[in-house]
Amino acid sequence: MEKTIDEINEKIRQGDVVVVTAEEIIEIAKEKGPKKAAQEVDVVTTGTFGPMCSSGAFLNIGHSKPRIKLGGGTTYLNGVPAYTGLAAVDLYIGANALPDDDPRNRVYPGEFNYGGGHVIEELVAKRDIRLAATAYGTDCYPRRTLETRINIRDLNETVLFNIRNAYQNYNVAVNLSDRTLYTYMGVLRPNAGNATYSSAGGLSPLLNDPYYKTIGIGTRIFLGGGVGYVSWHGTQHNPGVPRGDNGVPRRPGGTLAVVGDLKQMQPEWLRGISMLGYGCTIAVGIGVPIPILSEEILNYTRVTDADILAPVVDFSEAYPQRKSEIVGEVSYAQLKAGTIQLQGKEVPTASLSSYPGALRIATILKEWIQRGKFLLTKPVAPLPGVESDITFKPLKERPIE
């Protein structure tokens, strides 16, 4: 028996919808069998909370008197440069932006204590932000400098727009060299002294809908503690990677571009973070509801950590030199057990994304749906799937004559 999203939404309005998390569905389907579980359960909620670098926010700060054209000028928020290639008072602040005077890796490894991700966290926390701008001045926008405090409460549109989030699976990082490496996958000890990973595994949104049968453009989601939407497939979306029999990608696969109103969001789920020797970024909380429209959809949500394999990549050579070789493949069940076997050696593991955070998000989203405050949406267009001709192309360098 198949269901429609309209039917599920009607149940949400009536208050008799059955919602469980992607963790809970595993036992439920085992107990009841997939057929009965697919009839009884209407929605499975997923979650993830980890560093997502391609994130940032558009801000419209309102017009000063006299007017200033920030476009083509410079603007700093708490000392962090914002992008000003837009109209007079629209800005974009990216999570990886750094103050001009940050020493970066000149003192190695750089600490990267404050950047764009931290500005976004402080904005969302409704703290005042220092804005300092210069402009060239025009007849219609005569002002050339602006220094003021701003607060999210007083701004016009504040839109989180992340061009790549919620990676469907990801690399496990190790370091086969004999010196410590400071990477976006954390501090990697020499001689495969540790292995780091970054995925919620069996709870992660796109791993519960491996072929993007329910998640598409227009899907309403939990984003940073508020309500957001899937706006496009994310950059580097790569549906054509090798998959297991369960359809789950064995390499970094699909990604999502997401959008939402920053004013509804919470600093708890948009956390500015610092990767030693690498840079600043932001941990983003995302939760996606999966409508159980059929037994097939239900079966996808039954995926467990043991069913998801991730490639182990050497960050001393293969990653920086863009070589495709991998050291091995491990499951998230192995990673979460605390050690993996690698080249005959026991290697301790550490996670960079927060599983307790992911579970909390899936639970919050479940409660929103149960309380009738969050209705599901039917995608207006699907994400490119395995049948699409999308590939993840490397840069082909051509000399400039």
Binding site: G193, G272, A283
Partner: protein
């Protein structure tokens, strides 16, 4: 009865050039293991010690230190996790040389066992949300 404790000693300027630790060994029969020390002549000294010995002698040694103006803190008071900033990601797990962080298998929350902490500071900058703080 023997005791062994990790303590932080703050030496005022006037004591920096006196053989304080030597007296602990000679007069109170205590064993020590220096975990961290920073002594700046003409300024102030800070030393993190693991100090062990017979309870009575240990107490007398501590009394000797305090009577001479050394301020003593228990090490566990110095390394603090900011619970609001910690996201329980677990990046610290393989950074800490003394396994002071553990993932609880069921909840996957990270517990900080500060009695195992040596205050080496490795976790401070390796923690992405910068939730670990050292206060000496």
């Amino acid at each position: 009865m023997n005791v062994s404790k990790r303590i932080v000693l703050h030496f005022p300027r006037r004591l920096v050039d006196r053989p304080i630790i030597y007296r602990l060994v000679r007069d109170y029969n205590l064993e020590f293991n220096i975990l961290k020390a920073s002594v700046t002549p003409e300024e102030e000294g800070l030393m993190v010690l693991e100090l062990s010995g017979e309870q009575g002698e240990y107490d007398n040694g501590i009394k000797y230190l305090t009577e001479n103006g050394v301020r003593i803190q228990s090490l566990s008071q110095n390394v603090i996790r900011n619970e609001e900033r910690c996201t329980h990601c677990g990046a610290c797990i393989t950074i800490c040389p003394t396994a002071a962080f553990e993932v609880e298998p069921l909840t996957r929350r990270v517990t900080f066992y500060n009695e195992r902490c040596l205050a080496c500071g490795m976790c401070i900058k390796a923690c992405p949300p910068r939730a670990m703080e050292v206060h000496f």
